[in-house]
Symmetry: C2
Subunit: 233 residues, 2 copies
DNA sequence: CCAAAAGTGTTCGAATTACACCCATGA
DNA sequence: TCATGGGTGTAATTCGAACACTTTTGG
């Protein structure tokens, strides 16, 4: 049905802020690519695309994410809608931003490189087109708020990770150091991690035990009124 | 410029979740109106409208708010974008929701009634069209999160208010009772309220002192690293 | 004088912070 | 054997929760 025929129609895009965590460099990275169309062709940009007639906003975001990363089931959350009339010099485009968390290693290199995408450290971003910097900083705030209150940080890590790695991830997200003993105490007391027998022996001689996020435990706890909260000095 | 000529164009609307606080009934109310166009003509709806070519999303939301309430400078914050293909049976419409806080008394009755709008208690809402219920519940969550961390609750009260009124407002937002002594202790210790000499003597014989939100104090404190936090048992 | 609402402090327990040394191991 | 990173516990403090009586005054 087309009952609103007189109203204006707009180009609507989605832009994806794709966060990854580099476990070696201990840095949050962003997936950027060099824009292939005019205007601002060749400039650094978030991954984005126009919303089609037959897809929802969420579906559009997934489509773009899948196309660029080759990944299927990833954490994806709407962040904010940007609607300034002149935000895109190419035309009036309303854009809804999404942020996504992916484990760096999972991304298929070939697909990524074929699409001309690159991981760039959050702390040394190049200039981005349009209002993409604003999108990033808003998404980072959302990310910081999210990981405090939901166990989504694990999305950025491999299945098996050490407590040191987990802490480094949180430090990278919050841009500050945390106390090792307090951090470990808090996360372990939650009882949502499973300690494995295996050790990670690359970064230290002694080796650090691997842990795994135990989703069933977490779901059960959550149902019985438990709230994840990882907020340490 | 029109550089993206091949992409699909969409109707984009904004819908406003307008919260008011009824200081007498101690209830949060929502400004609803009876839809005047097909489909769902005559059904209860949020205040909304299509985004024009020459206005941003924020501007569109302000325009609608102004038209419906006659008010100019109100608290308005983007909440979420809704993009399901079939969310509106009239046509494919992408809608960005905004929530707004206004002091009930400020609204100009004539304008409101001329527009056929009505305040409805949040706890006994009628059926709303489309996905407007979801918009409301998401906006309520945002409101709850906001008033915890920012002094925006005052937007829902008159300039002068008593501590009892402030507490009742918080209780209405959180849907639970709070401890009187702890509440007062916490808000007063923040040192962002100004106690007036005047008393409110309608609801009690003794009378309750009026307070005012002292914005300058708050701004100063905020600059020096203070964080508003009103989270009481 | 009494009903009704405003106003006021203290105690207890839990959570958060601060803090420094031993352990295991490969080179 | 020693350098490197992993792992651990306790004391002090702060913060949040629970809780009940006095005050004022109009009718």
């Amino acid at each position: 049905m087309k009952l609103y025929s007189k109203a204006a129609r707009h180009l609507v895009a989605v832009d994806c802020i794709i966060f990854g965590y580099d476990i070696l460099e201990k840095e949050i990275k962003l997936l950027l690519y060099k824009r292939s169309i005019k205007p601002a062709k060749g400039k650094w940009s978030l991954a984005g695309g126009f919303v089609e007639d037959d897809e929802s906003l969420d579906e559009a975001a997934y489509r773009i994410l899948r196309k660029i990363t080759g990944l299927d089931s990833v954490y994806l959350k709407q962040s904010h809608a940007y609607g300034d009339v002149k935000r895109d010099p190419g035309d009036r485009v309303i854009s809804v931003s999404y942020f996504s968390l992916i484990a760096l290693r999972n991304i298929k290199k070939e697909i990524a490189e074929k699409n001309g995408v690159h991981w760039r450290s959050l702390s040394r971003l190049p200039n981005l087109i349009f209002d993409h910097h604003e999108m990033v900083s808003r998404a980072l705030s959302s990310l910081q708020a999210q990981v405090k209150v939901n166990p989504v940080g694990f999305e950025l890590l491999p299945d098996k990770f050490t407590l040191v790695q987990l802490q480094c991830l949180y430090e990278a997200i919050y841009l500050r150091k945390m106390d090792k003993r307090n951090f470990r105490k808090k996360i372990l007391l939650m009882n949502i991690l499973e300690k494995l027998d295996e050790k990670e022996t690359v970064t230290s001689k002694k080796g650090a035990y691997y842990y795994r996020f135990h989703e069933e435990k977490y779901d059960k706890l959550k149902k019985s009124g438990f709230y994840f909260n990882l907020d340490v000095n």
